[in-house]
């Protein structure tokens, strides 16, 4: 078919990134891959991709301590126009697991508008990983994954349909745990 269009690279890249996010969110607990982009060193490609694909000047972004650098802020504002905010108002939050705790300061939505809640982007770090079974929407039967502090995820899923939605990011890898996912601990040591 004849094509008179020259598509902008930005629009092509964002579409491909978003499809990975759709897949990750649709199939919780599975790993999906994202492509490389130019970003501050401290941010993973996956975390940077989420921010750049979803944030604009209406988005409040919380950067936890190690991530709250001028380099990250400048990069974020230049590329998205997002507003760097505190925890309470954050639509998105980025950090390693420990630095995002406690979770209860993030907004979890209200019964009329449960979507007015924060999305947490958790960067890979040396947190204690505990084996869990997960099931729920997007999961065929059940899956086994590793989570930090499973009790916090269990509490979160009890808030359903309110709650927080999580993306775990590690270099090019992304895995989602939305609020709809039910978690149980398999490991007896826990």
């Amino acid at each position: 078919m004849e094509n008179n269009y020259h598509f902008s690279e930005e629009s092509i890249n964002s579409s491909i990134s978003f499809r990975s996010l759709v897949n990750a969110t649709s199939y919780p607990g599975r790993h999906f891959q994202i492509t490389k982009l130019k970003k501050p060193n401290i941010l993973s490609n996956a975390a940077a991709t989420i921010l750049i694909t979803l944030c604009d000047n209406e988005s409040n972004v919380y950067l936890s301590k190690d991530f709250s650098t001028d380099e990250v802020k400048d990069w974020l504002i230049f590329n998205t126009g997002a507003i760097v905010s505190d925890k309470q108002n954050a639509d998105f939050a980025v950090g390693d697991w420990e630095s995002l705790l406690p979770l209860d300061e993030f907004k979890t939505g209200v019964p009329e508008y449960p979507e007015r809640s924060a999305t947490l982007i958790i960067e890979e770090s040396n947190y204690k990983k505990i084996k869990c079974n997960i099931n729920g929407p997007g999961i065929k039967d059940k899956l086994q994954i590793e989570l930090p502090n499973p009790e916090l995820f269990i509490n979160n899923s009890h808030l359903y349909p309110l709650g927080l939605d999580f993306y775990f990011t590690n270099d090019l890898d992304i895995l989602s745990i939305p609020r709809s996912t039910k978690i149980s601990v398999t490991n007896s040591e826990y």
């Binding site: 008179n4 598509f7 579409s15 449960p114 729920g136 997007g138 939605d165 709809s180």
Partner: protein, 293 residues
């Protein structure tokens, strides 16, 4: 006046991949992801005017536009058919604005936009089915006010819906809803499946594909993730029953696909054919292969 086209950039190249600008896509994409996290919940989004009228699938078109990638293979159906006028028009729109490959084959498509049907061929993981939705609120015809229906969803207060269904049974011995038959998604939100015949309802349940719903005029997006429990509302003593014309397709002979009734002669003689044109073609081919053997 002659230089107006230069002035206003009416030049065709101004459009982004898949038409919508990046800011609009971001807003829709955020809504889509929240919708996937809260299955069946209607997320408000600031729908844009599209170059086709509200009611012509602008919600579905915006969702498709936000999801489409260059290597997608797109299928568009209306009433189950690829060759209905509006399906043709939407398919052309995306060929023009996204230059994506198109197909009529359900199994070859990576993204399917539909109005009023779910394909007969089973969908697969990572396929996306985008529904065009006219009225996303299943309670709307019982309670016209958004302020009220929003409260009902927040409180899971669905008594009104069950009363309506029950009254139908009391009056007619049947539930008087043949299409847009309400479902409960993930045991929580009562959801409008869009005006598909209730024959299609069971296909929504535990489907490996990603089901996204866009209502442009009403400014709502919702989703049913893969492998999600979707249950048509019913009563223990009046269980939900999928329904279709009790005939065989006069083209492919299929008796398990949804049929359209057509009038074939001036004296009103009826015939029945598959509403899903791709499925019908496939069955016909299978039949001829069998004959050959």
């Amino acid at each position: 006046m002659n230089d107006m086209s230069k002035d206003k950039n009416i030049d065709i190249q101004i459009y982004n991949f898949a038409y919508l600008d990046e800011n609009t896509k971001r807003m829709i994409r955020r809504a889509l992801l929240k919708a996937l996290c809260i299955p069946g919940y209607q997320v408000p989004f600031s729908s844009r005017e599209m170059p086709m009228p509200y009611g012509w699938g602008t919600g579905g078109i915006q969702v498709t536009s936000a999801c489409l990638i260059p290597k997608d293979v797109l299928k568009v159906i209306d009433q189950g058919a690829d060759d209905t006028t509006n399906a043709v028009s939407i398919r052309k729109f995306f060929q023009k604005t996204a230059n994506v490959a198109v197909t009529e084959k359900t199994s070859d498509a990576s993204l399917i936009q539909t109005r009023h049907r779910i394909p007969e061929t089973k969908l697969k993981e990572q396929q996306i089915l985008v529904y065009q939705v006219p009225i996303p609120e299943p309670l709307r015809f019982l309670e016209p006010r958004e302020t009220e229906t929003r409260k009902m969803h927040a409180l899971s207060e669905y008594g009104l819906m069950f009363v309506k269904l029950y009254e139908d049974i009391a009056k007619h011995g049947h539930i008087e809803t043949a299409y847009a038959y309400p479902v409960k998604t993930n045991g929580n939100y009562v959801t409008d499946p869009s005006p598909i015949p209730k024959f299609d309802n069971p296909k929504m349940n535990n489907n490996p594909a990603i089901q996204l719903f866009g209502a442009g005029r009403e400014q709502r997006i919702y989703a049913i993730p893969p492998y999600t429990n979707v249950k048509s509302l019913d009563f223990e003593d009046y269980p939900f029953e999928a329904m279709k014309a009790n005939f065989k397709c006069s083209i492919c002979g299929s008796s398990d696909s949804y049929l359209d009734e057509i009038i074939v002669s001036d004296d009103g003689k009826r015939s029945y054919i598959c509403s899903d044109t791709d499925y019908c073609k496939e069955q016909t081919q299978l039949n001829s292969k069998e004959e050959d053997q």
